[in-house]
Amino acid sequence: MTDHVVILGGGTGGTVLANDLADRLETELATDKVRVTLLNDDPDHVYKPVWLYVPFGQREPEDGRRPLADLVDDSVDVRIDRVTDIDTDTRQLRTRRGPAIEYDYLVLATGSTLAPAEISGLAEGGHDYYSESGAKTLREELLSFTGGELVLSVIGSPHMCPAAPLEFVFMADDWFRERGLRDDVEITYTYPIQRVHGNPHIAEWARPLMDDRDINVETFFNAEAVDPEAETITSMEGTELDYDLLVSIPPHRGVDLIEEADLGDNGWVDVDKHTLEADHADRVYAIGDAADTGVPKAGSVAHYQAGVLAQRLASEVRGRPATATYDGKTLCFIETGMDAASFVEFDYEQPPSPAPPSQKLHWSKLAYNESYWLTARGLL
């Protein structure tokens, strides 16, 4: 009997997992004891961290795309199709184009989607760098922006890469300074809770940097509506801000499939945060942004979780008890300008302690981004 492992989503988590399984289960794959299928709706694999640099003219969106098939080991069956339905009772997936797919083990690595329509006026009035098209349009806006109120509003929570909103305002501050425009640009950062970041240690570190650099801060600001005509954004707490350029981190959701299959709310799969097993179905797992573990929605998390799950699945396939567990490990570089960055590493037990910003850490972040294509292939 051949065990069929189906991975839904060929982003960071799904791709790293497919390549790790190809390596770990090489013998079983060669002897047809196991099959691995990777399903993705886009023929390209997309590396989102590149988008942070696009508005500042430092990277092109194409730098974040590579054909998925080129990144995945030949022993994995890569299918480009959109899954439309998950039936965890009959262990079947339905897709847009192909026949139904049966699985013995299903991994959900479906990532995050943006839901700007949840805030009235946001789609019309706001810009973002959390999508490829958003990053490109924002580049045009920023290049022609020579003065006025720039507001960065964090609306979605949870959202991808909790560091990226801080990075954006630090980079914008530096970028406008270098271009001699900073005196003409007011930068305001808004955040939903009483500090500038969800994690208290990162918030405590970031706040003085923001004050030093004249970045205005509005905390307890949960955007309720945007008026694109009047160019204002108002919060549930009753604060109204004027803007000339509004950049937002829009509300995030997982894919609808998850809720339709009763696996969790808002597209996030309820899982055991150590074993990554779904709470509401057998032989179903989730990794990366789709898994509701409480840790940040970050590529590094998807990568580490993929490593843990590959070990667990290999044990399952071999009929041995699965012992590997995820300890919450998260790693993150934080740009603090155009040529300096900090770094944090933490897990379920250890809180983060941001490193002093340096040029070396900035180069490390760029090097990490460059070597990402080796990470996705499972070589790093």
Binding site: E118, S157, P158, Q194, G198, P200, F220, N222, E237, G294
Partner: protein, 80 residues
Amino acid sequence: MSTPDTDPAATVDARGAACPGPLMDLIGKMREVDSGAIVCLLSDNEQSVTDVPEWVEEAGNELLAVEEREDHRAFYVEKQ
């Protein structure tokens, strides 16, 4: 402060979530409900004891009651 007689319009179970998860979950639910509705937040995170009242006041809502239960608290919040 005493536990309200009316049933909450929604209950948000944020037990097990690390900070700021419970407060963010509460804010998300408050966005969805109509004014006058009561939302009940279940949290076992210590930070919620200060986070929740601070936000509720800032947003002009009302904290009707905080119920101490065996291993968590229930916060009843009315949307104004």
